[in-house]
Amino acid sequence: MTNTKTDLRDQQGKSWVYSDIVKEHFFHPQNILLPGEEVDYQSDGLGYVGSPACGDMMKMWIKVDQKEDRILECKWQTFGCASAIASTSMLSVIATEKGGMKLDDAMKIKAQDILERLGGLPNRKIHCSVLGDKALQSAINDYFKKTEQFDRVKIEGAKIIDDQLKITDKDIEEAVLEGADTLEKVQVKTKVGTGDPSCLPEVEQLIKFYQDKYYG
């Protein structure tokens, strides 16, 4: 496992677990909406995700070309570590480059797409990049609601796995993203299956699935 702290102590300051692209976007982030500009910024959609307690929080504003159904501008603010800042910056570039992304395509951006453009992230930092796409989806959904295109609002469905404790596959996914890599650790975070253990085989499958998806 990579250790950022050790690399930081490197005498030359050259060895770094982050790719050059990540560093570029961290030190020179694109499309930030500065606090002073916030009040007057006329956005078509606004999205939030995360919370300060989680360690990551993003706010995203979009302007939409209604006729073309494309994203014109994608502005953001992020509280979080270098990966979170760099991945939000990269996402804003992806969404607005080449004349702006079609909304339907933007809805489909996955964490993996951001990761690829960043040239990868250290394994344990991958969870930081999955928030950006959710923030963008939240902003696009907000635009759909404001423009009364309710049929286009996409809420990611969650399936209940543990019927007794009402724990969904999203909860398992979140636990894996927070670093739980065994059933035991996922149970510490979610208590899944502690009341009704009949769901445990499915939980174990999901852990493996999300492990492969994000860390495989």
Binding site: T4, K5, R9, L34, P52, G55, M57, G80, L131
Partner: protein
């Protein structure tokens, strides 16, 4: 660009006097102290000399000192070695111990010991009433660190020993003094402890050398078996150059303890005051006065620690954070959690630990850098903890 190293609690550099004293023992006096020829006997003599010098600093008998391979090993030997001589019982450790104690205590729990955690107050000091209430006639081992590695809080060890032993005379009391060693008295007769851990690499000595003080009469068994070195408590050929280096380093640090503490307290308070003066909403974590002279732990609201560290690195400044984003486990600092800091404030915590080479100019540089970094990161942060305007959305 000048490198400004402010992570002395993580490890220290070897100072030249120490290196010089070690030099002889690599290729000239390299003998095994167990050997019966001059080269070996010289090594044995050097070892005995070193043990005597350390005993003088700790105000103990030289036969009460066991040289080991690290602070972590010393902590393990203390807890496991004593536990091995007893039937399972209760062990009490504080909520802010180093992992070397936390995880060894958890191991004893797996073996059937009852593990009790002594909680601390907002400043990181042991809650003495609660501590007292934990101690029973089944309590056999207590381990409380002398000074904390993250927030620098200094515990009144001798008072805690008295509290414990007044209730139960049989209790074996251990303290991890790794962080305390350059700045506080290590006189074990005053501290009253039965066991004490030290580590050379926190006191400008070499890495790979630790020490366990074991008060005469304390029942303890080895955790490493072999040729029976170190009074049969730590087998393995003695690391003579390391032990000599540790001894010299400890002597130097303890000799300039008061003078260096005084110097660092001025720099410490200057750094805290100037950061709080020039930047809004900067909070000191830990105790305002009962803290190590070299420790500064601050939370910069609305921004995250790892991002701050990476920016600091661009200025050549090396520090650390309690944020989850910078840890292997993605868990936040258990120490900052124990003093009651909410997660959003833990994520923005930065620890600066100063040392021998830290100067007033370094402090000025850090202040200058932090003003720029905080301004930059706050400008892109949607969090405004003072306004509490953010929606409480969980991802």
């Amino acid at each position: 660009m000048k490198k400004i190293y402010l992570d002395h609690a993580a490890t220290t550099y070897l100072i030249s006097e120490v290196k010089k004293e070690m030099d002889l023992f690599w290729s000239e006096q390299y003998g095994n102290p167990s050997a019966l020829y001059s080269l070996g006997m010289e090594a044995a003599q050097a070892l005995a000399g070193a043990r005597g010098r350390v005993a003088k600093i700790l105000n103990c008998n030289s036969q009460e000192l066991i040289f080991v391979g690290s602070g972590t090993e010393s902590d393990n030997l203390a807890l496991q070695g004593v536990a091995k001589t007893m039937e399972v019982g209760e062990i009490i450790v504080s909520a802010i111990e180093h992992d070397a104690i936390c995880n060894t205590a958890n191991y004893l729990k797996d073996l059937g010991w009852k593990l009790k955690i002594a909680k601390v107050d907002q400043g990181g000091l042991i809650d003495q009433e609660y501590f007292k209430s934990l101690i029973t006639d089944q309590t056999k081992i207590i381990s409380i660190m002398y000074a904390n590695n993250e927030i620098g809080t200094i515990q009144p060890i001798s008072e805690l020993v008295k509290i414990a032993k007044n209730i139960n005379q049989e209790i074996v009391f251990h303290t991890d003094a790794c962080q305390a060693s350059p700045y506080l008295s290590l006189d074990v007769s005053q501290l009253g402890v039965d066991l004490m851990t030290l580590n050379a690499s926190k006191v400008y000595g070499p890495k790979g050398v630790g020490l366990l003080y074991v008060k005469k009469g304390t029942k303890i068994k080895p955790i490493i078996y072999g040729g029976g070195q170190e009074f049969a408590l730590r087998s393995g050929t003695e690391n003579i150059p390391g032990i000599i280096g540790f001894t010299k380093a400890l002597e130097i640090a303890q000799a300039k303890r008061d003078e260096e503490s005084k110097r660092l307290i001025i720099l410490r308070d200057k750094l805290v005051n100037e950061l709080q003066d020039k930047i809004e909403r900067v909070n000191l974590n830990g105790h305002p006065s009962k803290r190590l002279p070299n420790n500064i732990n601050l939370t910069f609201e609305d921004i995250e620690g790892e991002a701050i560290l990476l920016h600091l690195n661009e200025y050549g400044i090396m520090a650390s954070t309690g944020s989850a984003c910078a840890s292997h486990s993605l868990d936040v600092s258990h120490v900052l959690k124990a003093i009651g800091l909410p997660y959003e404030l833990i994520h923005g915590s930065i620890r600066f630990t100063m040392g021998l080479q830290t100067t007033e100019e370094d402090v000025d540089q850090v202040v200058k850098a932090m003003v720029e970094i905080v301004e930059k990161l706050r400008a892109m942060s949607p969090v405004h903890l003072d306004q509490d305007q953010h929606p409480k959305v969980k991802h």
